[in-house]
Symmetry: C2
Subunit: 332 residues, 2 copies
C-alpha cells in the first residue's frame, strides 16, 4: 500500500495540472466557436484580452465591465417582421373575442386578415392602437403568462422554430465569452421590456432586471398591477442611452446593435470611454441564404447612418456571411 | 511514513467534518448577530428555513427568491429629515452661484437660511422646484459624481457619520442572510433612484440595476444624457408595485418597509404568494435613545395604516428597541 499511496500523492499535482490544462484547452476551443477568424473575432478577443489585463493601461475594473445588446436583429432574427408584431397579430383574435366592438376598426380587420399592406397604411396611430389593445388591459402577471405561452407555441414562418430558438449562436457565444471575462450583459431593445423578460433568462442568461425596453404605463388598482394601453417609453434611437440610465444606471464599455436605432447607444458608449477602450459593433445582415440580407432599403432593421459612420467612429461591422461559420443552433 | 500517511488519510474525513462544523458554527454565530431572540428573528429564520427546504410544500425555487427593501427608515436613518433633502439644501448654494436669479424665489431663500418652517410652507410645488433645480440641469455622469462627493463629505447632524454609515446593522445582516440563502435583494425606495445608485453597491451590496426609485425625466442631446428638472416618477405608495414591475420585472416573496408608503408593496407581495409563504415586515422606530421613536404623528416615515393592518395581514412588526441588540455599526 505504501508505494501506491506515495505514487498517488506524487501523481496528484500532475493529475490536477492535467485536469486544468484539459479544461483550459476545451474552453479555448469552445469560446466564440461559431466566429470565423477575421477582423470581427479579432476585435472582440483583442478588446477583452486588453481590458482584462490588469497590467495594461487600458485595463477596465470588473465593476465597469458593462456590455449592452440590442435584441431585434442583433440577438435574434427580426425578419420578415419583428416577432413582437407577430405576437400582436396572433393576439388580435383573442382580444376581439373579449371586445367585439374592436372588429369595426380598420387596423383590427387588417390584422385579422393578416393583411400587412393595410396594416402598414394604418400608420403609427394604427400600430399603436394595435399594440395597446393586445399588450394592455390585463395584470402584469397575466401578460407574463400570455407571452410565455405564445413563445412555446408560435413558430417562425420560415425557420419553423420557436422565435427564441431563432437566436444567433455566435452572439450567444459572445454573451458567454464576455460574462466569463467578468462583464455583465444587458439587453437594451426597442422591443417591449415586458415582452422580453419572460424568456431572456433561459434564452440569453439575462435576468429580468437586466432588460431595458419600450413599455406601457402601469397602474396599481384593486391590489394588483395592471397594464394600460398607453405606451409610456419608446426605447429606440436617442432614448436608448436614456433607457440605459433608467434601467442599468451605468455607462457601457461595449455595445452591440444592428440598425440606426442603435446609433446613439453606440455613440454614447464610445464617447463615455474617452481615450480608453470601448467595443462597438453592428451586425450587418449579409446572408440571404442562411438568414436575410438587408440594410439601407429595409424598414425593419434599417441600417444606413451606422454603415456610413462606422469607419470614422471606430465601430466594427460584423459581416454575418463572412464572420459567422454558423448562424443558428438548429442549422444542420 | 506508511503509518503517518494511513493515519492522515483516516483522519481526513474527521478533519474535514471538523472544518465544516467549525464553519457552520461561526456562520450560525455571525448570521443575524444583531437580532435578539424574539418573534422578528424567528419569523425571518422560519421563513428562510421553510422556503429553502426542497422537501417542504412551501419551497420556493431560487429564481423566485426576490426580496425588496425600502431604503429611508428601513435600511438607513431617515431622521431628522430624509438625507436626500439635506443633499438638496446643501446643493442650493452651488446652484445659486450658477443661477443667481433663483435667489429671488422664496423656497431658495428658505433653503439658504436652513429655515425648515418656511420650506415646509412652500408646499409640494416649492419642494419640487427645490428638488428639480438641485437634481437637474447636468449630465447623468456629473450627477453621479456630485452625489458620490457629497456622500463622502456630508455628515448626519446627530451621529456625525457619513449618511451611508447611518445604516441599520441588523438590516445589513438580513440582506447578507437572504443572499446567502439564494435570494436576490432589491431596493425599492421613494427616494431618488439616481441619488441612491452611486453608493448602494458599497453600502448594501446592491447593484445599480437592482435599485428602483423616484426619477426625473432624462434627455439625450449633444451626445450625452442630461437630467431635466421634471420629476417623471414618484416611486411611493401605489407606485411601489409599479416600480417593481418596471425595474425588477418579478413579484417579490419578501418585502421590508417602515412607513405607509410601503403599504401597497407589502400588500402586493403578500397577495402574490397566494397560499404560499411570504415574509412582510415593517421596521417600527421605537428607540429614541439609540435612534429615533416615531410612527403615527411623524411626517417623515409616517406609519399608521401599517400598524393597524399588520396583525390581520400577517405582517411582522420589527420593534427596533426590543429586536435589535445593536442599531448602527459605529455604536460602541
Amino acid at each position: 500500500m505504501r508505494k501506491i499511496v506515495t505514487l498517488l500523492i506524487m501523481l496528484l499535482p500532475v493529475y490536477l495540472s492535467g485536469v486544468s490544462s484539459a479544461i483550459a484547452a476545451t474552453e479555448e476551443t469552445k469560446e466564440l466557436a461559431s466566429w470565423n477568424e477575421g477582423p470581427s473575432r479579432r476585435a472582440i478577443v483583442d478588446f477583452v484580452k486588453t481590458v482584462t489585463d490588469s497590467k495594461n493601461k487600458d485595463f477596465i475594473p470588473v465593476e465597469k465591465r458593462i456590455a449592452v445588446f440590442d435584441n431585434d436583429g442583433t440577438l435574434w432574427c427580426e425578419k420578415p417582421v419583428y416577432p413582437q408584431f407577430i405576437f400582436a397579430i396572433d393576439r388580435v383574435k383573442t382580444v376581439i373575442e373579449e371586445r367585439p366592438e374592436l372588429k369595426e376598426e380598420a387596423v383590427f380587420q387588417a390584422a385579422l386578415k393578416g393583411d400587412y399592406d393595410s396594416l402598414a397604411k394604418s400608420g403609427a396611430g394604427g400600430i399603436q392602437r394595435l399594440i395597446g389593445a393586445t399588450h394592455g388591459g390585463m395584470t402584469a402577471d397575466s401578460f407574463d403568462k400570455i407571452v410565455s405561452d405564445w413563445m412555446k407555441s408560435a413558430r417562425h414562418p420560415r425557420f419553423k422554430q420557436p422565435f427564441n430558438k431563432c437566436v444567433y449562436k455566435p452572439m450567444l457565444e459572445l454573451l458567454d465569452y464576455l460574462r466569463a471575462n467578468g462583464f455583465r450583459t444587458f439587453i437594451v431593445s426597442g422591443g417591449g421590456r415586458d415582452f422580453m423578460r419572460p424568456w431572456t433568462k433561459e434564452t440569453y442568461g439575462v435576468d429580468a432586471e437586466e432588460v431595458a425596453g419600450s413599455s406601457c404605463h402601469l397602474e396599481y388598482k384593486d391590489g394588483d398591477v395592471y397594464r394600460t394601453e398607453k405606451i409610456d417609453f419608446l426605447n429606440d434611437g436617442k432614448e436608448k442611452p436614456v433607457g440605459i440610465c433608467r434601467q442599468i444606471g451605468a455607462r457601457p464599455v461595449a455595445a452591440f446593435g444592428n440598425s440606426d436605432g442603435d446609433f446613439e447607444m453606440l455613440e454614447w458608449t464610445k464617447s463615455g470611454a474617452g481615450k480608453g477602450k470601448s467595443l462597438c459593433m453592428l451586425v450587418h445582415h449579409t446572408d440571404a441564404e442562411r438568414e436575410y440580407a438587408y440594410d439601407r432599403d429595409s424598414k425593419v432593421g434599417h441600417l444606413e447612418r451606422g454603415l456610413d459612420s462606422a469607419a470614422e467612429a471606430g465601430w466594427v461591422i460584423i459581416d454575418m456571411q463572412k464572420d459567422w461559420s454558423r448562424v443558428f443552433s438548429f442549422e444542420k
